[in-house]
Symmetry: C2
Subunit: 359 residues, 2 copies
DNA sequence: ATCGTGTAGCTAAACGTTAAGGTGAGAGAA
DNA sequence: TTCTCTCACCTTAACGTTTAGCTACACGAT
C-alpha cells in the first residue's frame, strides 16, 4: 500500500504538500499540484481514513443498531439512513441484535471502540435494562428510533403509535365490528404498549367494553402470531375483525386464517400497522397503517448531525411522526352484528387516502 | 476520552502493561492486573480501535455492497453476513448502491479508504463496466455474490440460476401448461440471462417452441413487472402460466393480475424465483424457488476469510448453490389445453418439498 | 544596498495504540 | 560474594496522517 510519503518522494515534494493538494487546505502552485496528482495516479494511492481519523479525532462513521433487519420497517429505515448519511459524508456501521439485549450491549461497546461519532438505536431491551451511567459512558450522541426509552436523555423519533392504533381501530369500527381482537407485541416495548393503548382508547370512545380475552401477545413475531391468532379464531365466538400490531405478525395471522379455512375479509376483517410492499399485492389487498419511514430516517440523521455540530448539550427533543391509514380491501361490513352508526363514519373518511398506494 | 496513558498513570504502571493486561499478550502479575482493571473501570476507558488499526494494519472491517437492501434476498443475505462476520471478529460496513453503478464505484473507493480488509460485492454494473486494473487497485480480496463478473478473477458464490429456472418451469410444465410467459430481468445481469436460459431449456426439453413475444423484461422491478405483465395478460391469447424471475417483480405481477380481474391460479398459474416470508401468507400461497441464503452468506464469508488468512493468491473458486422448489398453491392444472404427460411427471416430484415451509 | 513583507513549501510533532527490545531486581549456582 | 539467568515491567519507536509553525525566497519600498 503506497503511503503519502511514497507520493511525496515520487512527486519530489513534502508530505505536507501532498496533503494540502489532496485536501485543498492550502495553496499549492499549479505545477506541484500537477506533479502530485500524477504521482497519486501512478502509484494508485488512496488516503488512509484510519490514520486520518486518528489524527483528526473524527471517523465520519455513525452506528446503526436494529433488532431485526429482516423486518421491512427496519430494512427501509436502514436504507434511508444509509443513503442520507452518505450524502452528509458519513458511512454507517450496521449491527443487527437479533432482538437480543445482551448482543445489543456488546454492540454498544463495539460502537464506542470503533469511535463511531453518533448512534441511531432501535433499542430491544426493556426500559430498566438500561443504566444511565453506562449509556452515558458511550460519550456520543444517541438518537432512539421506533422504541422509546423515557429514562434516558436522548433524542428520539418515532411514530404516534396511539394514533396509529386508533386509526386502524376506527376504520374497523366504522365497518360495524364490535368484537375486535388484537394481536399485540411484547408490552415492555413502548411501541407495543402504546398500540394497545390506542386499541383500548378506540374501543372506549365507541362505548365498547374492553375484553382482555380478545387481546393476545404475538410477540411481534410471525410464529407466535400464528399460534395465538389460530387459537383466537378457532373459538366459537371468534372476533369478526383483528387488529394486528405489526407487519411480521400479519404473516402469521394470514397463515392462520388460511389454515382454518377462513377467508379475509369474508370471515374476518384485518387491519395491521406497518405498510410494506407486499401488502398491496395480497388477495385481498391489505389495509394498513403506514409509517412515514423516510421522514423518520431523515429526522434521525438530522437530529444526530445537529448534536454533532453544536456540542452544547441541549435538552433532548422527541419527534412524533404521523401515521396514515391506507385503505384497501381487507375490511368489510360486519353482517351478523347490528351496525347503526357505520355508514356515517365511513363517509367521513377521505377516500383520497388510497392515493398513497403504488408510490 | 480517557486514553491508555490515563489508565497507566492512574494504575501507576506503564502503557505497555495496560495493553498487555487488556489484550492478554504478556504475563502481568495479579496485583498490577487488578490495579489496571480498576483504573479502566474508574475512568470508563474503552480502547480506540482506530489507533489499534493504524498500528496493527488491521481494521477487522469487511465491506458489503448491495444494490437494494429492500429486496428480501439482500436483506436476509445482509443479516447472515453481518451475524457470521461478527462471530469471526469482523464488523461490516454496509453500502446500498441503489442499483447505480456510479455509486458503486464511489463506494468501492470508500471501502479502500476505510481500509476494509475484504469485500463482498453484489455487482450492479454490466460486465464490461469493470476495469480489471481498477478493481485490482482495491488491493483486497473480493467475493462476488448473486451476480457473476466472469472477467474478474474473484471468488464467487451464487445460485444455479439455470437450474432454478428449469425447476420452476418443469413444475409449470408438469401441470400441462404450454403457453408460458416469462417476466425476466435486465439481460446484462448474469442472474437474469441465466434464468432466461433455464426458461428456454425447459421449454426445449418438452419440445415446445420458444416464443419471444411471451418473454418480457420486467427489469427486476415491481413497477416494470406490473406494466409488462398487465400488457402480456390482457392479450386475447394470454399465457396460461407465468414464470417470474424474482421476488420484487412478483408483487407487480400479482397486482396486475388483480387489476385485470383475473385470479391466480384459476386464470393464470404463477411460479417465481426467490422465496420470501410473505410468499407463504399470500392467497394463494405462492409456489417459489428458494435460494439457500444462509449457505450463500456463510460461504461468502468463509471464502473471504480464507483469502485473508492465507495471503497466497490461489485461483478463484466459484461456488454454485442448489435451489429448491417450494411447492405451494399458485399453480394448477391447465384446463383448455391437452395435458397428456402431466400426471406421471407430477408423481415424480417428492411431496416432501413442502417440508421446507414454516421453517 | 537594506529592510520588511508576504507566501510557497517544508519540518516535525502529535493522534492512541502495540511490540520489540531493554532494564534491573531477585534467585540460584559457583 | 559474584556471576548468570529469568522474567516482570518499562521505554520507545513506529503506524500514516494533519497541521502548527518555520524557512527561505522574491519582490517592493525606502
Amino acid at each position: 500500500m503506497p503511503t503519502i510519503r511514497d507520493v511525496a518522494t515520487r512527486a519530489g515534494v513534502s508530505t505536507a504538500t501532498v496533503s494540502a493538494t489532496l485536501n485543498g487546505t492550502a495553496f499549492v502552485s499549479p505545477e506541484l499540484k500537477e506533479r502530485v496528482i500524477a504521482a497519486v495516479r501512478e502509484l494508485g494511492y488512496a488516503p488512509d481514513a484510519i490514520a486520518r481519523s486518528l489524527k483528526q479525532g473524527r471517523t465520519h462513521l455513525i452506528g446503526l443498531i436494529v433488532g431485526d433487519i429482516t423486518n421491512p420497517y427496519f430494512t427501509e429505515l436502514t436504507q434511508v439512513i444509509e443513503a442520507t448519511a452518505q450524502t452528509q459524508g458519513y458511512s454507517v456501521l450496521l449491527c443487527d441484535t437479533n432482538q437480543e439485549f445482551q448482543k445489543e450491549r456488546e454492540y454498544l461497546q463495539l460502537m464506542r471502540t470503533y469511535r463511531v461519532e453518533g448512534l441511531i438505536l432501535a433499542a430491544t431491551g426493556r426500559p430498566d435494562d438500561y443504566d444511565l451511567a453506562e449509556m452515558h459512558g458511550l460519550r456520543m450522541p444517541v438518537v432512539l428510533v421506533d422504541r422509546a426509552l423515557p429514562l434516558l436523555p436522548f433524542d428520539s423519533v418515532m411514530l404516534d403509535n396511539v394514533l396509529a392504533a386508533t386509526q386502524a381501530m376506527n376504520h374497523i369500527l366504522a365497518f360495524g365490528h364490535r368484537r375486535i381482537g388484537m394481536i399485540g407485541g411484547p408490552r415492555h416495548l413502548s411501541v407495543a404498549s402504546e398500540r394497545e393503548e390506542g386499541y383500548r382508547l378506540a374501543l372506549q370512545q365507541q362505548g365498547i367494553e374492553y375484553d382482555g380475552r380478545l387481546v393476545r401477545d404475538g410477540n411481534f413475531r410471525e410464529e407466535d402470531a400464528f399460534t395465538v391468532s389460530q387459537e383466537l379464531l378457532s373459538r366459537s365466538d371468534r372476533p369478526s375483525a383483528l387488529f394486528v400490531a405489526n407487519n411480521h405478525m400479519l404473516i402469521g395471522v394470514m397463515r392462520a386464517i388460511a389454515d382454518l379455512g377462513l377467508q379475509c375479509p369474508r370471515d374476518v376483517s384485518i387491519v395491521s400497522i406497518d405498510d410494506f410492499r407486499w401488502a398491496n399485492a395480497f388477495t385481498p389487498r391489505m389495509t394498513t397503517v403506514n409509517q412515514p419511514i423516510p421522514e423518520i430516517g431523515h429526522a434521525a440523521i438530522r437530529l444526530l448531525l445537529d448534536r454533532l455540530a453544536r456540542k452544547a448539550t441541549t435538552d433532548p427533543v422527541h419527534l412524533v411522526m404521523m401515521p396514515t391509514l391506507r385503505v384497501r380491501d381487507s375490511c368489510k361490513q360486519v353482517v351478523f352484528e347490528p351496525a347503526e352508526r357505520t355508514t356515517a363514519t365511513i363517509a367521513s373518511m377521505p377516500a383520497s387516502r388510497n392515493a398513497f398506494d403504488h408510490e
